[in-house]
């Protein structure tokens, strides 16, 4: 039995190690190695930090990097603020059929490709779009208005795309909060504000953290929404990575960009986990 157990362990470990090793760890090491080399001649390379210096020395790159980070944080906070009351409604107020159908409705956009969702926003927001026509019909504006290709449109798209990943973990954690605890809070003279702050939010913290991590990640790594909804000035860091890799064929610089994006996302997730005292294992499962 012991020998059989050991064999089973090895058989189960092999796919895991192959997957993590060949598709995650080694590719990232290789990407790092590519990012620290510099082309000095045809097919000749030397190790140097030149690509990282290029990144630090070019304001466009740095500004785009910072903008992407800040806008992603903004999108995450907005998603949380917009989604929390809805999650609370689904978890605590709606009952029975209404509850399960509202929850299913939240999942619907997830079943639809991000491309379709973005396309929907383009139809709504563009100059000849529905909202522009509606505003003209109401007499609020004189001519067609272009609502697309700016930061607001981009944020609307980002929040829309990631809403589900905030609402679902929030509903799950809020459902486990016993109604009687909230009632006890009121009996003890708490106000709605103080009960929200001292009972509901602390209880929902694991859901808030895991939702925020996923939403932040999805916004930071998003390519489609900023490209389609954002304007000329709302360049996203992923667009820089794409253009270095595919358009300019400068893989060394592109790999360095990729690494910076990875460091940024890891740093912010680490910070969020530390600030709230959560661990990755707990929030992701």
């Amino acid at each position: 039995m012991r020998a059989g157990n050991k064999l089973a362990l090895i058989l189960l470990l092999t796919p895991l190690l192959l997957w993590i090793g060949l598709l995650i760890i080694i590719p990232h090491i290789d990407m790092f190695l590519v990012s620290i080399r510099e082309r000095v001649g045809v097919g000749k390379y030397q190790i140097s930090l030149a690509n990282y210096w290029t990144f630090l020395g070019e304001p466009l790159y740095l500004v785009t990097f910072a903008r992407t980070a800040i806008m992603s944080v903004l999108a995450t906070v907005l998603t949380l603020i917009i989604g929390f009351p809805v999650a609370f409604f689904i978890a605590k107020i709606a009952k029975g059929r209404l509850q399960s159908s509202l929850f299913l409705l939240c999942l619907v956009p997830f079943w639809v490709s991000e491309l379709v969702r973005t396309f929907g926003w383009m139809i709504l927001l563009r100059e000849t779009g529905l909202i522009s026509n509606l505003l003209q019909w109401l007499g609020l504006v004189d001519g067609p208005v272009e609502l697309l290709y700016n930061d607001v449109a981009m944020i609307v798209g980002l929040v829309y795309t990631s809403m589900l990943f905030m609402v679902v973990p929030l509903v799950t954690t809020l459902e486990s909060l016993d109604d009687s605890i909230i009632e006890a809070g009121y009996d003890l003279g708490g106000s709605t504000v103080s009960i929200t702050r001292e009972i509901i939010i602390p209880h929902a913290m694991p859901g808030i953290v895991s939702g925020s991590i996923v939403v932040f990640m999805l916004s930071l790594g998003n390519y489609l929404t900023p490209t389609m909804l954002g304007g000329k000035d709302s360049l996203w860091f992923t667009e820089l990575i794409y253009s270095q890799f595919i358009v300019r064929f400068n893989w060394e610089l592109g790999a360095a960009f990729g690494f910076m994006l990875l460091i940024l996302s890891s740093a912010i997730i680490w910070l969020l986990l530390k600030l709230t005292g959560q661990t990755l294992e707990k929030t992701m499962t």
């Binding site: 895991l16 290789d30 396309f119 294992e281």
Partner: protein, 283 residues
């Protein structure tokens, strides 16, 4: 607040209005995409020029419908091919991972568990470029040292499958693990006591119990693969899956054809979702 606590009527009405508004916000983009698939105009926008099926079945220029668009149908085929293999692979590896982490203790278990979760916190585009860089290093290395030219290591279907598999496996692992944790191991022990071999016990007792999670995991993997964009974008070769093909069209300017494709996609994935939900209910 909760129903057992009385609130001012205006407040609870405002709350309900907010939740309603939220669902309008969720539905609106999907609704307009669907409606404009039937607009008899070359642009998916107002004015409304009348109802038509041309964007589905039309075969006359310029209104060539989805079912007569060779490139779109081919892209759909590519997507299905990719999604099928990604789901198959990730359910296999995910199930193996679930058994491993639920039942065995081994050195570095916690480290490996965290590494298993990692793909969820790596931006998709970074996963894509790292696999692109590594596979081309491998391809160049093999070509320089042995003169082998391995097409599978160049951007194309194979790399797209590997790239999507690399993070979808984590999700399937979590789905299957959640169900495996609820399994009562005494059932398996009973089978062993009755003389079943360990493999028979797993095949006849544990796997049937896991079946809803396996089907659910397959469905989720299929959908995630089908709609994946970021990782795929970096690894795609000449045979693009549907999301990439649609993206290329959208960049050139949109016609209601894209609405028609989108509507069909929505119907397809809702059908899949319904099948999965009814399957989950049954078991």
């Amino acid at each position: 607040m909760i129903p057992s606590i009385r609130q001012p009527r205006a407040l609870s009405l405002a709350y309900r209005a907010y939740v309603t508004l939220f669902f309008v916000y969720l539905a609106l983009p999907l609704l307009v995409v669907s409606v404009f698939a039937f607009n008899d105009s070359l642009f998916p926008s107002l004015p409304w020029k009348g109802f038509t099926w041309a964007w589905f079945f039309g075969d006359q220029h310029p209104r060539i419908g989805v079912f007569h668009q060779e490139p779109i149908l081919r892209a759909l085929g590519n997507s299905g091919f990719i999604a099928f293999f990604v789901s198959l692979l990730s359910v296999a590896v995910g199930t193996s991972n679930a058994f491993l982490f639920n039942r065995y203790s081994f050195p570095l278990r916690n480290l490996l568990y965290v590494l298993m979760l990692m793909p969820l916190v790596i931006p998709g585009i970074v996963l894509g470029i790292s696999i692109l860089v590594f596979s081309s290093t491998m391809a160049n290395g093999l070509e320089d040292s042995f003169g082998w030219d391995i097409g599978g290591l160049r951007p194309g279907l194979m790399l797209v499958i590997l790239g999507q598999f690399s993070f979808i496996t984590t999700i399937v692992t979590l789905v299957v693990s959640a169900r495996l944790q609820k399994f009562d191991r005494s059932l398996e022990e009973a089978a062993l006591n009755l003389g079943a071999s360990p493999l028979t016990a797993i095949r006849t007792i544990t796997l049937p119990f896991l079946l809803p999670a396996l089907v659910g995991g397959f469905g989720v993997a299929f959908l995630m693969s089908f709609e994946n964009f970021n990782t795929t974008l970096m690894l795609v070769g000449s045979d693009a899956p549907l999301t990439i093909a649609m993206f290329d069209r959208l960049k050139e300017g949109s016609t209601p054809l894209l609405n028609a494709v989108s509507l069909l996609l929505m119907l397809g994935s809702s059908a899949l979702a319904l099948v999965m939900i009814s399957f989950q209910r049954k078991s």
